[in-house]
């Protein structure tokens, strides 16, 4: 399951728009083999998921 799917599972109210270039959440992959991570979380009401929630 990709990171965006894990986050949407935690917060079903989030949409693709929230992760778009115009959104308040930025997921990033540096193509270094370490996978995706949350580079920016500026959602006005939802808290950034913890590592435990995303595991």
């Amino acid at each position: 399951m990709e990171l965006i799917d894990k986050i949407k599972q935690i917060y079903p109210e989030l949409t693709t728009e929230d992760f778009s270039p115009r959104g308040t959440i930025r997921l990033q992959n540096d193509s270094d083999g370490k996978g995706d991570y949350i580079a920016k979380w500026e959602h006005p009401t939802l808290a950034r998921p913890t590592e435990e929630q995303l595991a």
């Binding site: 990709e2 990171l3 965006i4 799917d5 693709t16 992760f19 778009s20 270039p21 930025r26 997921l27 990033q28 992959n29 540096d30 193509s31 270094d32 995706d36 580079a39």
Partner: protein, 174 residues
């Protein structure tokens, strides 16, 4: 008259050498204070292997092959110029055919989004995106990379020197 040799303020010299031509050649300097730029760094690279993209994320594009790299400032898909100044950078990518997707590119500076390009949603058989901007680099620690955003699962970039590329050049000194 031959060379003009200027002594440095601390050590060393700067030599001005006239071109070996007959007749008169005139060099006029601008009426302003600044540093004269001589052949700043330039590079061009492209991808010969696809970069796997993640749905809903910005993914760094890998460029494995160099067309040229005049100052050896391009490595690991990253441009780190060693001369301070203003750089024009350009990039393009293509995405293989598939489902509807939103596609956008970004110029990253020092690991963070610096300039965002246009984005569009399309269901075409193949789509491409380009980005171009000016960016200042300090000549030591600043580096530039290219990322692509896509909102579709199981996608990857295309390959080829005419479709997935990254180039740039210094256009003005610091």
């Amino acid at each position: 008259m031959g060379d003009i040799v200027l002594a440095g303020s601390t050590s060393g010299t700067t030599t001005l050498t006239p071109a070996a031509v007959s007749g008169t050649t005139t060099l006029t300097l601008p009426a302003s204070t600044g540093t004269v730029m001589v052949n700043g760094p330039a590079f061009s690279a492209y991808a010969n292997a696809a970069t796997s993209l993640t749905n809903g994320a910005f993914t760094k594009i890998s460029f494995q092959v160099e067309d040229y790299d005049t100052n050896n400032n391009f490595a690991s898909s990253r441009f780190t110029p060693t001369v301070a100044g203003y750089y024009q950078v350009n990039a393009a990518t293509s995405i293989a055919a598939g489902t509807t997707a939103e596609l956008s590119m970004a110029v990253y500076k020092n690991g963070s989004g610096h300039k965002q390009g246009s984005d569009f949603i399309t269901a075409g058989t193949q789509y491409s995106q380009t980005i171009s901007t000016l960016v200042y680099c300090n000549g030591s620690t600043d580096y530039i990379e290219i990322y692509v955003y896509i909102a579709a699962a199981s996608k990857s970039t295309g390959t080829g020197d005419n479709s997935v590329w990254f180039n740039g050049a210094m256009i003005r000194g610091a």
